[in-house]
Symmetry: C2
Subunit: 411 residues, 2 copies
C-alpha cells in the first residue's frame, strides 16, 4: 500500500499567493465591472519589459540550437562554466569578495533553492525563521517533515520564530535558544528592512560559534543603494564558513517569467554527522544538482549572462531605479495618509501598519473593494505580520501614482 508523506497534511490553507488570487477572483465574480480597474501590488511580480540585452542574448542562443554546429544538448547540471564565471566575477570578485566560479550553482529561481537546500540536512536541525517571513521557507520545511503541526493563528511547532517587530526595527534578534539553520532575508521580504553590517557580523559570529549555517536570501540585493549596507553576506569575514547565499535575477533583470537564480555555496562550508564528522557540503550540493537536474535552459543562461554586459548592467540599473522610485512614492503616499510605513528605501516593498479596527486580511479586502488595489495581507507572512500589509513597488509609474491617489481617498 503506497504510504503518503503525511507532513503535507499539516499545511494550513493554501499557499499565500494563490489564496490572494482566489480572493481577487471572488471579488471580480461579484463585481465584474471593476475587472479593468484592478491594480495589483500584491504578489511581488515585475511588470516592466525584460532588458533588451537579455532578450537579444536569449533569441540568439535559441537560434544557436537551430543549427547542428552550434547545437547544445545537456549542459552541466550546475550551469555553464563561463556563465558561472561571469556571475562570480560580476557579483563578487569585482567587489573584492572571494567566490570561485564553481561555488555558483545556477537554478531556475531562488524559490526552489530555498527549499532544495534543506535536502542536504537531517531532520534533527533546529531551524530559525523570522516572523514575518517569505512563506516558501516555512512551507518547504513543513513538507520536508522539519516541523510539527500548525499552531492556531499561524506558524508551526518545532520552528524557532525570530520576531521582527516595530520594537526591534523589524530586525531579527539572535535567539537565546541555540539554533542550527537560520533563514535571513535582506532586504527583507516582506518588511523591506535591510540587515546592517554590524548585525550581520553578529549573526556570522553566532553561526561560527555554534557551527550553525545561515541561509542568506539576497534576492533583492540590487535594491540596496546605501553603500554602507552589505549586499552579500560574504562581505562579512568568516561567512564562507557558515553561509549559503541565494540570489535571483527575478527582481534585478525582471526574470520572474524567464526563471533564473543561483546559490553561492562555498567550498569551506561544512555540516556534521551524528558521529561528529565534519562534511563539506559543496560536493553534496554538486551531486544533488547532477542527480536531480540537467541545468537551466541554455538560452536562459545566456540571458542571465547578458545582464552583466555593459548594456545589461545599465538596463538593470534603470529597472531597479524605476521600481525604487515607485517604492518611494508608495511610502510617501502612505505616510501622507497618516499610516505608519517602513521599507521602500533600498527595497521594493513598503510595510504598512493597518489602521484600527482592521486586521490585515480585513484591510486587504477593504482596499480591494474600496480602491480596487491588491496588496498582501501581512498575516500571510506569519503571526507577527498580523496588523500590517505589504505593498509591492513592482508596477508601472502610472499605476503607482494611481494607487497613491486611490489610497488617499480610502476611508
Amino acid at each position: 500500500m503506497a504510504s503518503v508523506n503525511e507532513h503535507y497534511l499539516k499545511l494550513s490553507a493554501g499557499y499565500l499567493f494563490p489564496e490572494i488570487a482566489r480572493r481577487v477572483q471572488a471579488f471580480l465574480a461579484e463585481c465584474p465591472q471593476f475587472s479593468n480597474e484592478i491594480i495589483r501590488c500584491g504578489i511581488g511580480d515585475v511588470t516592466e519589459p525584460l532588458p533588451r540585452a537579455a532578450v537579444e542574448a536569449m533569441k540568439s542562443a535559441t537560434e544557436e540550437l537551430a543549427h547542428r554546429a552550434s547545437f547544445k544538448g545537456y549542459g552541466p547540471g550546475t550551469g555553464y562554466e563561463d556563465v558561472r564565471r561571469t556571475i562570480a566575477e560580476g557579483d563578487f570578485r569585482s567587489r573584492g569578495l572571494s567566490v570561485a566560479d564553481d561555488e555558483i550553482f545556477l537554478s531556475d529561481g531562488s524559490k526552489g533553492d530555498c527549499s532544495s537546500i534543506m535536502e542536504l540536512f537531517s531532520h534533527s536541525n533546529r531551524i530559525a525563521i523570522t516572523d514575518p517571513v517569505y512563506p516558501a521557507y516555512v512551507d518547504g520545511n513543513v513538507m520536508f517533515g522539519n516541523t510539527g503541526g500548525p499552531f492556531d493563528g499561524g506558524g508551526y511547532e518545532g520552528l524557532v520564530y525570530l520576531p521582527c517587530t516595530e520594537a526591534n526595527g523589524f530586525l531579527a534578534q539572535i535567539p537565546c535558544a541555540p539554533v542550527d539553520l537560520i533563514y535571513l532575508c535582506s532586504p527583507s521580504n516582506p518588511t523591506g528592512t535591510v540587515i546592517p553590517r554590524e548585525q550581520l557580523a553578529a549573526w556570522v559570529a553566532y553561526a561560527r560559534k555554534h557551527r550553525a549555517i545561515i541561509f542568506y536570501d539576497a534576492a533583492y540585493e540590487a535594491y540596496i543603494q546605501d553603500p554602507s549596507l552589505p549586499r552579500s553576506i560574504f562581505e562579512i569575514e568568516g561567512a564562507r564558513e557558515c553561509a549559503v547565499e541565494f540570489r535571483s535575477f527575478s527582481k534585478s533583470g525582471g526574470f520572474t517569467g524567464v526563471r533564473c537564480g543561483y546559490t553561492v555555496l562555498p567550498k569551506s562550508l561544512c555540516a556534521w554527522t551524528d558521529g561528529g564528522q565534519q562534511i563539506p557540503l559543496h560536493p553534496l550540493w554538486t551531486r544533488r544538482w547532477n542527480t536531480r537536474s540537467n541545468g537551466v535552459s541554455y538560452a536562459v543562461q545566456r540571458g542571465a549572462q547578458a545582464l552583466y554586459s555593459v548594456d545589461g548592467k545599465r538596463q538593470v540599473a534603470e529597472l531597479v531605479s524605476h521600481y525604487l522610485e515607485n517604492a518611494r512614492l508608495l511610502h510617501e503616499g502612505c505616510v501622507r495618509k497618516g499610516l505608519a510605513a517602513w521599507g521602500g528605501t533600498n527595497a521594493p516593498y513598503v510595510w504598512v501598519r493597518v489602521p484600527a479596527p482592521f486586521d490585515s486580511w480585513a484591510y486587504f479586502e477593504h482596499i480591494l473593494r474600496e480602491a480596487r488595489v491588491v496588496v498582501t495581507p501581512g498575516a500571510g507572512f506569519g503571526r507577527r505580520g498580523e496588523g500590517f500589509i505589504r505593498i509591492s513597488a513592482f508596477n508601472s509609474r502610472a499605476n503607482v501614482v494611481e494607487v497613491v491617489r486611490r489610497l488617499a481617498s480610502v476611508q
Copy 2:
C-alpha cells in the same frame, strides 16, 4: 551544530555520466591526438538541430517579454493552462485517453520529476526498481533516505530489484514480495525493451490489487512505431487509479538543452496514511509545485507547445525517424560483428552483450581506446547491467556509419 543528511554519504562513486566524462577526459589527456576523433554514443544526448517550429516559438515568446503589453512575469507553478491543454489534447485525448488539462504538470525535465515525485511519499514504502535501470531513480531515493547502504558490486539495501535479463527478455517480472512504489521505464533506458500491453496490464492489475503506485517513465515513447505496443500507461484500463506517467521533450523535440518535460498525475490517484485514510495526491502535487517552483520558463513552454503544431509534429517525426534509423544501423552493425544485441527498434538504445573476457567497464575502455567511441558500460545501470554496454543512437548519420565501421574493426 548543523546536522548533515547522512544518506548522501551512502552514494557510491560518482553519478554515472560525469564518471564517463571523467574517464574520457583521462584518455584524452593521455592521447590528445585523438581528441577530434572521439564519437560519443555514451550519454543519450541528442545532436540534431531543434525543430524550427520550437525555435520560432521560443524567439517570438522571448520578444513578447521585451514589451510591456505582452510581458509575462510569474506563470502558474504547474504551467500555462493553454500549454497544458495542448499537451493533454495532443498526447492523450486525441488518442482516446482521458487526461484533463490540469492533470498535466510541466517541469524542466523528467530527471527531476522522477526524484521529486518521491517527496509525496513516506519513507516506509517498499520500492521496486528494475535492474538495470536509469541511475537517477536509485540515486534520488538514496538521497531521500529511502534505502540502506550500498552493496558491494552495486545496488543498495532496502530496494526491491527486479532483474531484467536475457532469460526474461529484459522485462521485469512481477515480484513475489509485495511492493508499494514501482519504477517502470518503457521503452527502457538502458535496454531498449518496450513493455507489451498484456504485461503492462498485469502490472496495473497488481498495483490496483496491492494499492501500489507505478511511476511510468515514458520519456522515449515517441520511438514506439509498432501500433500494438502501448505508448502510455493510461492506455491500460485502471491505470488512472495507480499510475503517474513521466514524459519528456528531450528525445522527441531535441530539448535536452532547452529543458521541458511533464508528469501526468490523475485526480483519481491516491496514497494512504498510516491510519488508513485515503489521500488524493493531485492536490499535494499541485501544492508541491506552487511552493517549490514558479513554473517553467515562459519561452520554453511556448517552444514545447509548438511541437504540437502541424509543422512541429512533422519536424519531431523527422527527428525520431533519423535516430531510429541510426538505432537500426547500430543494432545491425553489432549483430554483423557477431555480438548479441537487443533494442534498437521502437527505442533509441542498443543493448549489447560484451564479448569475453571483458566486463562492461573494461569493454567501455577497450572501445574508447581502440575505436575512439564512447559507449555506456552496462554496469553503470546496476548489477544486472554487468556484461553489457548501451550504445546510444543519438548522433549524426555520418557518425553512426563511422561507429559501425570502427566497431567492425575492433578486436
